[in-house]
């Protein structure tokens, strides 16, 4: 839920990166963190296991600038991708303003993508959201790997409602900011209506 603070003149929005395990959600955040000026970001908090798999969530606040005298601050979260962390995923979707679905483009991860996408819809529904009504972007990650499914086929399989689709290689930053911009823009556009 967007939080508008007239006292500090801030708009705070929550964006969640969703997707199957090891698809690159944390890598997206890490790239945004590494490429952003220190004054525009807070700490990157990672609640991870000893093997660096996200246990609860990763989090970073990001300031994008000022709209109509209000500072816009985006709270970026990732969810843990592994199937058995579903309780954590549900919690993190509470109060969400926009979602990025990070798909793993490798052929052998197609089933995991589809399962995670169903899981996203279910978990959104359980929090009272409808994916069709929510700012949403699809990112096709790991496009640099040799065994990837062609973009057209992957889009055909995973696109839900004509949302923007971006090819990405999160580890070198390709497509990371395009994805973020697309979802942030949708979230701010939504503010005009609500």
């Amino acid at each position: 839920m967007t939080f508008i603070n007239y006292a500090s003149r801030e708009i705070n929005c929550k964006i969640v990166y969703y997707g199957p395990g090891l698809c690159g959600k944390t890598t997206n955040l890490q790239h945004i963190y590494d490429s952003t000026a220190p004054q525009a970001k807070g700490k990157l908090i990672s609640l991870a296991t000893e093997t660096d798999r996200t246990l609860f969530f990763d989090f970073m606040p990001l300031e994008l600038g000022t709209v109509r005298g209000f500072k816009t601050r985006f709270h970026l979260y990732t969810v843990p991708g592994q199937v058995y962390y579903d309780a954590s995923r549900k919690l993190i979707l509470k109060g969400v303003d926009g979602v990025v679905f990070v798909a793993d483009s490798q052929e052998e991860r197609m089933d995991a993508n589809v399962e995670s996408l169903y899981n996203l819809e279910d978990n959104l529904q359980s929090q009272g959201y409808d994916l069709n009504q929510l700012p949403y972007v699809l990112q096709l990650n790991k496009r640099d790997l040799p065994n990837v499914i062609p973009m057209h086929d992957l889009t055909h399989e995973l696109q839900k409602k004509g949302e923007p689709v971006f090819e990405a290689v999160a580890k070198d930053g390709t497509g990371v900011f395009d994805t973020l911009k697309a979802v942030a823009k949708q979230v701010l556009t939504e503010l005009r209506k609500t």
Partner: protein, 160 residues
């Protein structure tokens, strides 16, 4: 469907901050926060030093979200308070509707005192938050949304 924005007006912010100041003084606490359950800082009062308040609020909300889910697994609806006791600094979190009162205190105070004062303040905070929610809903229901005037150019300028 995305939910209506949660809108905090300046007057409500000042009221909240004054309650937080009272709690901080009465508890001899270092700093007192009011945090939305989604992890947004609503207001704080006290010495934050170089603390990253945004991350702190997000983690406090994550902490309560996790303990609330644990409560449900054992048949409780919610744990109304969560305490973390450290060697020097401790944290007391009290759940007030959809917000959290977070008190950071050290050896100058005691958990008993913090609990007592926080409970008293929770009624005042609940009343202010109810007013906030009512007004947010009124704004959302009005013909003109709070940011109806934002243009595409305004949004694009953030990314230029």
């Amino acid at each position: 469907m995305s939910q209506s924005p949660f809108i905090l007006q300046e007057q409500q912010f000042l009221k909240i901050r004054s309650v937080l100041e009272r709690v901080r003084v009465e508890c001899a606490a270092r700093v007192v926060f009011l945090v939305d359950r989604d992890g947004q800082t609503i207001a704080f009062n006290g010495d934050i030093g170089d603390m990253d308040t945004t991350s702190f609020s997000s983690l406090a909300a994550g902490n309560v979200a996790a303990t609330t889910s644990m409560a449900r697994l054992i048949g409780e609806n919610v744990f109304p308070a969560v305490v973390h006791e450290g060697e020097n600094e401790s944290i007391f979190i009290s759940v007030i509707g959809r917000s959290l009162l977070v008190v950071v205190f050290d050896g100058r105070s005691t958990l008993g005192l913090v609990k007592l004062r926080a409970k008293r303040a929770s009624f005042d905070i609940a009343a202010i938050l109810d007013e906030m929610i009512r007004e947010s809903q009124l704004i959302a229901a009005s013909a003109k949304p709070a940011f109806a005037d934002i243009t595409d150019e305004d949004i694009d300028s953030l990314f230029s």
